[in-house]
């Protein structure tokens, strides 16, 4: 019964996503929704390794940007403005796979690096990747690259509509993946690793294998979230693609929403993402970032289990899944 409730929700969400472009004609709202949905994917991706397994990734922006730059790479392979219409469907998996491979690499880092050392290494990795991209002139180097999406839009009438629906599908899919992992042997093993890695290994949990799965899946999701970015922003350069904002949000949203379940990142991303977009438009883009920082610090101190923890505490429902 529980399972079918979730899948009915998925079906409803999909239908809503497909219908929205027909109802909401103002592209501004679609773009705002795209940003929030992108955060849903990023927060979910971070949470698979960070929330379930306890390995804090500070380098999310690096994985995200690698997804975006994989798309730029494909774009640049074609002569000026000659990119085939459906190339986005190649860019997406490529961005995911490249980021997944890098994720797998960081997974092997966990052999030697625990806790904070792993976190610092991921931050270092993001900076090294950024330096490489900055010095790689084929994808635009430090000056950046202009990206013009092809004239013909797949399926929909504008790129705004298409990208919105694409990101909605990615968000729904990543939530389903996260939920599957959480409820399977993988998620239970990751939770044991988070609690005590030595004990987990001694109780028969293949810790390395699970961490590699976690890192790879997480990297893949970061990558697919980044792949549509060039078409969305039309101009991409390393400083904005590797922006710390992505890394902070990817971490803050699950921490604020509740990091032990798939609902947490969803709640965190929707609430924080929407608040930031509103603040960005009404106050200033710096102020919205300050809000994230302050909320993150406030929540880790005052409500360590986030929205989900608060809900469980006040609704008295320990298993709100």
């Amino acid at each position: 019964m529980k399972i079918s409730v979730f899948w009915i929700g998925v079906a409803v969400a999909l239908v809503v996503a497909l219908l929205t472009p027909h109802v909401v004609t103002n592209e501004f709202y679609l773009r705002t929704a795209y940003t929030v949905l992108q955060f849903v994917v990023l927060a979910t991706a971070w949470n698979i390794l960070g929330g379930y397994g306890g390995y804090v990734n500070f380098g999310s922006a690096g994985f995200f940007a690698i997804g975006a730059y994989s798309a730029v790479f494909i774009y640049k392979l074609f002569p000026l403005f000659q990119v085939p219409d459906y190339m986005i469907f190649v860019m997406l998996p490529l961005g995911g796979v490249v980021a997944a491979v890098i994720g797998l690499g960081t997974g092997y880092l966990t052999l030697r690096l625990r806790g904070v050392y792993f976190s610092i290494a991921t931050l270092a990795l993001a900076v090294v990747l950024q330096t490489l991209v900055t010095n790689w002139h084929f994808v635009g180097g430090a000056r950046g690259a202009s990206i013009l999406p092809p004239q013909t839009v797949p399926i929909f009438s504008t790129w705004g509509e298409f990208l919105f629906v694409l990101m909605a599908i990615l968000a729904i899919a990543s939530l389903a993946v996260a939920r599957y992992i959480e409820r399977s042997w993988i998620g239970r093993g990751l939770a044991a690793i988070r609690d005590n890695e030595e004990a987990a290994e001694c109780m028969g949990v293949p810790t390395l294998k699970l961490k590699l799965i976690g890192c790879t899946v997480s990297g893949f999701l970061f990558g697919v979230a980044g792949a549509p970015l060039p078409y969305y922003v039309n101009y991409i350069e390393p400083v904005s693609a590797f922006n710390l904002v992505y890394a902070v949000n990817a971490l803050a949203m699950p921490m604020i929403g509740g990091a032990t379940t798939w609902i947490g990142p969803l709640l965190g991303a929707v609430v924080l993402g929407t608040a930031q977009e509103v603040a960005r438009v009404t106050i200033s883009s710096e102020m919205n970032l300050l809000i994230v920082g302050v909320l993150l610090v406030f929540f880790v101190i005052a409500a360590p289990d986030g929205f989900v923890g608060l809900a469980r505490k006040y609704l008295g429902n320990r298993k709100s899944r």
Binding site: D195, N196, A199, A200, E201, C202, V205, P206
Partner: protein
């Protein structure tokens, strides 16, 4: 020698220039209650870590149930049937007592078993774990969060969780340190029962001499990384080497 379950021969472990284990050879027989003693820093825990796979021995071989364990990760050794409890309890703190036991159940005991549905599997795990908790006298704590347990309960959880992995060999690493006399007896009773009723071979590392001597059929004493004595409990206390190791020159 088919009655040998665990065979360590010439095990060497060095850290930098320091030799923590120097050619240690120990055999543990099937069904035996085996005691491992020695002063602090004598290499007991290092030996346990080499057996469980947390450390890689630099020399010598460790064979369990006829299988050479070189290169095996700890979780693989657990699946073969070696399980340990930790000196300082390491519960999975975000889980309840029952969920703690469910981890080894799922990853070791029920590994490869196909269940009709996730619900059926969850039921099997729950029933198995409850059986162990009942035996440990902890059934009433099954749904308690493991972060709120008392010392003795944490020690019992360590043993219960190790039992859930259905081990052939249980290594009990100072499971009684810091407990009161009556609590020590309680843990001893449990270990005796596991050995006598379930046929589990037990290696006990302990500082509480009263407990090791009462429990063990055979005792090995390590000092400065070397095996200095091996005998029955009543003989080992009279061994001059052991006396020197504990009392100093």
């Amino acid at each position: 020698m088919s009655d040998v379950l665990l065979q360590c021969s010439g095990v060497v472990k060095t850290f930098g220039g320091f030799t923590a284990l120097d050619q240690v050879s120990v055999d543990v027989k099937k069904g035996e209650r085996f005691g491992l003693i020695g002063p602090n820093g004598s290499g007991k825990t290092t030996l346990i870590n080499c057996i469980s796979g947390a450390l890689k021995n630099d020399g010598g071989t460790i064979t369990f149930d006829g299988t050479d364990m070189a290169g095996m990760a700890p979780h693989q050794r657990t699946r073969l049937g070696i399980c340990r409890s930790f000196q300082i309890p390491r519960p999975f703190t975000s889980m309840t007592v029952l969920e703690n036991l469910a981890i080894p159940f799922e990853y070791v005991a029920l590994r490869g078993h196909r269940h009709a549905s996730p619900d059926a599997e969850a039921k099997a795990v729950r029933e198995g774990a409850m059986a162990i908790l009942t035996e440990m006298g902890m059934a009433d704590k099954a749904s308690a969060p493991s972060s709120g347990l008392t010392q003795i309960e944490l020690r019992k959880l360590e043993l219960a969780r190790a039992m859930a992995a259905k081990p052939k060999l249980l290594i009990s690493d100072e499971a009684m340190a810091g407990l009161s006399n009556s609590e020590v007896d309680e843990i001893l009773d449990i270990l005796f029962r596991l050995n006598e009723q379930h046929g589990i071979t037990i290696v006990m590392i302990e500082h509480i001499m009263r407990a090791v001597m009462r429990f063990s059929q055979r005792v090995v004493c390590l000092d400065a990384g070397k095996k200095i004595a091996e005998a029955t409990p009543d003989l080992i206390v009279k061994d001059p080497n052991v006396e020197r190791a504990y009392l100093g020159e």
